[in-house]
């Protein structure tokens, strides 16, 4: 399915160049046409990997040649990625590699300088952050972004904003629709908070929660938008080992229960290697390796990126 998309695009660009060629020289065009039947067609080599169970379904996310420059800095360059419908994928790399920037490109916090992003086959060109949310991507932030002055439940209710509708006038004059929707908001948000056993904290002010709980609340709020793909930026940062272990379990449970894809950035290798099915490694804005946790752990380039080139060892050989 996904390769279909690419083929269509490929043929379009071929058509475009042919047209140009026609305009330039009719003779050349004739020659091309006459040799058309003899061209050898080959399958395009793909650098994308998805879990086998998702292989015959359209990918939830596909990006091609994505990139952004900050002045002279190529923060992300030629970023290609495909994520299966129910995949748990990891994006790792040293500090400053461009992982968060890649998330910001996927969610349109930054406008890409180059490349395309397809969410469930839909191009995000021209969309803004809120449209991307409606298209099916939800995210959390490395530097937590909660609605700090509001309660835990209100934060989740805001996440449900586009799931439950109620117009301004209904709210202003307390029409029946308001009461019905508020009830729905309440029940749904407690249900979602229960994913992390946080229903008991529903009325606490979000900004006063402990750090770990704030991270969990951000995930609940993201889930409330009913996404197809959940992006988690360092979900375990600042959590203790037992919290992290619980988080790993919950992430897998979220995938199983909601049947969504999850892409996470994380420095905690136990978490990444423990639950991610496919992993991409980013270094200086470029993907240097893709594969299963096992493949990544033994990849020479990845080891170099993380530990630096081991010159001494090389000299010895």
């Amino acid at each position: 399915m996904s390769s279909d998309v690419r083929e269509v695009k490929g043929s379009q660009s071929v058509a475009a160049t042919e047209k140009k060629a026609d305009a330039l020289s009719a003779e050349k065009g004739k020659r091309d046409a006459s040799t058309g039947g003899n061209v050898k067609m080959v399958p395009v080599p793909s650098d994308s990997i998805v879990p086998e169970r998702d292989a015959n379904k359209s990918p939830v996310l596909e990006c091609r040649h994505l990139g952004i420059d900050f002045g002279g800095l190529r923060a992300v360059d030629d970023f290609n990625m495909m994520i299966g419908r129910t995949e748990i994928a990891g994006l790792i790399g040293p500090n400053g590699a461009g992982k968060t920037t890649a998330f910001n490109l996927l969610t349109k916090v930054y406008n890409p300088t180059r490349g395309t992003v397809l969410i469930d086959g839909v191009d995000t060109a021209g969309m803004d952050i809120s449209k991307v949310s409606k298209a099916g991507i939800a995210r959390t932030f490395q530097n937590i972004r909660l609605f700090n002055s509001l309660t835990v439940e209100e934060n989740v209710r805001i996440g449900l904003h586009n799931q439950i509708k109620c117009g301004m006038w209904s709210g202003m004059f307390r029409l029946p629709r308001h009461w019905a929707s508020e009830k729905e908001f309440h029940n749904k948000s407690l249900e979602l908070l229960d994913v992390f056993h946080m229903a008991g904290n529903a009325n606490e002010v979000a900004g006063s929660l402990p750090y770990g709980a704030q991270r969990r609340l951000e995930i609940v709020r993201a889930l409330a938008t009913n996404p197809k793909l959940l992006l988690l930026d360092e979900p375990a940062a600042g959590m203790n080992p037992s919290e992290t272990a619980e988080l790993m379990e919950t992430i897998v449970r979220i995938r199983d229960e909601f049947q969504i894809a999850i892409l996470l950035i994380e420095h905690d290798m136990d978490l990444v290697m423990g639950i991610c099915e496919g992993i991409a490694v980013l270094n200086f804005g470029k993907i240097i390796a893709k594969g299963t946790p096992k493949e990544i752990q033994s990849d020479q380039q990845v080891i170099e990126a993380y530990l630096g080139k081991q010159d001494d060892a090389k000299d010895g050989e």
């Binding site: 969610t107 916090v109 803004d128 952050i129 809120s130 949310s133 409606k134 939800a138 995210r139 932030f141 972004r145 909660l146 609605f147 700090n148 002055s149 509001l150 309660t151 209100e154 209710r157 805001i158 996440g159 904003h161 586009n162 439950i164 509708k165 109620c166 117009g167 301004m168 209904s170 709210g171 202003m172 004059f173 307390r174 308001h178 929707s181 508020e182 908001f185 008991g200 529903a202 009325n203 709020r221 993201a222 409330a224 938008t225």
Partner: protein, 365 residues
């Protein structure tokens, strides 16, 4: 259990706000009946009501939506002059004062809302603090436009001109708005009761809006714009809703205010008035609607009582405004205040728990 208790917290706070308004009204009425109030205070009742409404409505923009508006008097002005033209027009044909007042206040709200929409639409699409600059300019532009506006009414209906009274081409009748002189011969339809009802209406609109899906979206944008966008909230739309509703309410307050006097000039609604309303909101605690109302009432009465301050009033307001800004933005002072609050809360905890258990019992029934 826990849930019921806390849900009641906002409801309880809102009930207290309404109770304060109603009690203040009843007490005032009783005092007036007993002739225990001076004439100067009675003359201030409608302006107090209008400023309380202004304070509530500006709080929607400054406190709830988290934006700075420096031209709120501009919307008051739009409402005042459109309202009094409608009132003069209707007063000739409708005998019922409440109906005439009601219609003109509604029309004033609509006109101010349109002005708010036109001003807000281009600004709300931008990021950053452009609103302060644009609203500041808006207030001045409205004042200057009204300084050149002439409106007259005769048997043929209403006449408008931006040149002079002669240009109206009147056939007898009377002039309603005369450029810089402003409106003269206004039908004085406003009353304390009307002001009280308008405060209740403004409170209902704002408090209901805040505690609804729309209000949550507005506050989400205030707390964290990017996070709000990332959950699919249309930022421009909700900033604009807050701004337009606020403008409409300010317009209604303006109409109430204008119809308390026999004449009123455009320069009454200048930059100083905008700042005055902002001072109400800041002093009351941004986002604290009840605090803003009380600040509006007190600061409207005080200058009349402290006449000797006279011209220094605006100076004092500015100093107070700067002081409050410094205090609310200084982390050290904030920490000290926070500690103080914490201690205060702990001491009051016993009493609070008693109330909660009582309420819990009631809701079980």
């Amino acid at each position: 259990m826990e849930r019921i208790k806390n849900l009641n917290k906002t409801t309880r706070s809102n009930i207290i706000t309404f109770a304060i308004v109603i009690v203040a009204f009843v007490v005032m009425q009783a005092l007036i009946a007993a002739h225990a109030v001076s004439h100067s205070i009675i003359g201030l009742l409608v302006p107090i009501c209008a400023y309380v409404c202004m304070s509530i409505s500006l709080n929607l923009v400054v406190g709830i939506s988290g934006e700075l508006s420096l031209g709120h008097a501009g919307f008051m002005s739009v409402g005042a002059f459109s309202g009094l033209v409608v009132a003069s027009y209707l007063n000739a044909s409708i005998n019922s004062v409440p109906l005439c007042l009601f219609v003109s206040i509604v029309v004033a709200g609509i006109f101010a809302a349109i002005a708010g929409f036109l001003v807000g639409l281009p600004v709300m699409r931008l990021r950053g603090d452009y609103l302060a600059i644009v609203t500041l300019a808006f207030g001045e532009i409205i004042k200057n436009l009204l300084n050149n506006l002439y409106v007259g009414m005769d048997a043929k209906g209403l006449h408008f001109s931006m040149k002079s009274a002669q240009a109206l081409g009147m056939d007898g009748g009377k002039i309603l708005i005369e450029g810089p002189k402003g409106a003269v011969g206004i039908p004085q339809l406003s009353s304390f009761v009307a002001g009280f009802i308008l405060i209740l209406f403004t409170l209902i609109v704002v408090l209901n809006l805040v505690n609804s899906r729309t209000g949550r979206a507005i506050m989400a944008v205030r707390d964290n714009r990017i996070a709000a966008e990332s959950v699919g909230i249309n930022v421009t739309k909700y900033r604009l809703i807050a701004f337009v509703v606020s403008a409409a309410l300010a317009g209604m307050a303006g109409a109430l205010y204008a119809m308390n006097f026999s004449s009123i000039a455009p320069k009454k609604f200048d930059f100083n008035t905008s700042i005055l309303v902002l001072v109400f909101v800041v002093l009351g605690g941004m986002g604290n609607i009840r605090g803003g109302m009380i600040a509006a009432a007190v600061l409207t009465v005080l200058p009349e009582q402290l006449r000797f301050i006279g011209d220094y009033r605006m100076l004092i307001y500015s100093v107070v405004l700067i002081g409050v800004m410094i205090v609310t933005n200084n982390p050290k002072i904030q920490r000290v205040l926070g500690d103080f609050k914490e201690r205060f809360r702990r001491r009051g905890n016993g009493a609070a728990q008693e109330v909660d258990s009582l309420e819990g019992g009631a809701s079980d029934e």
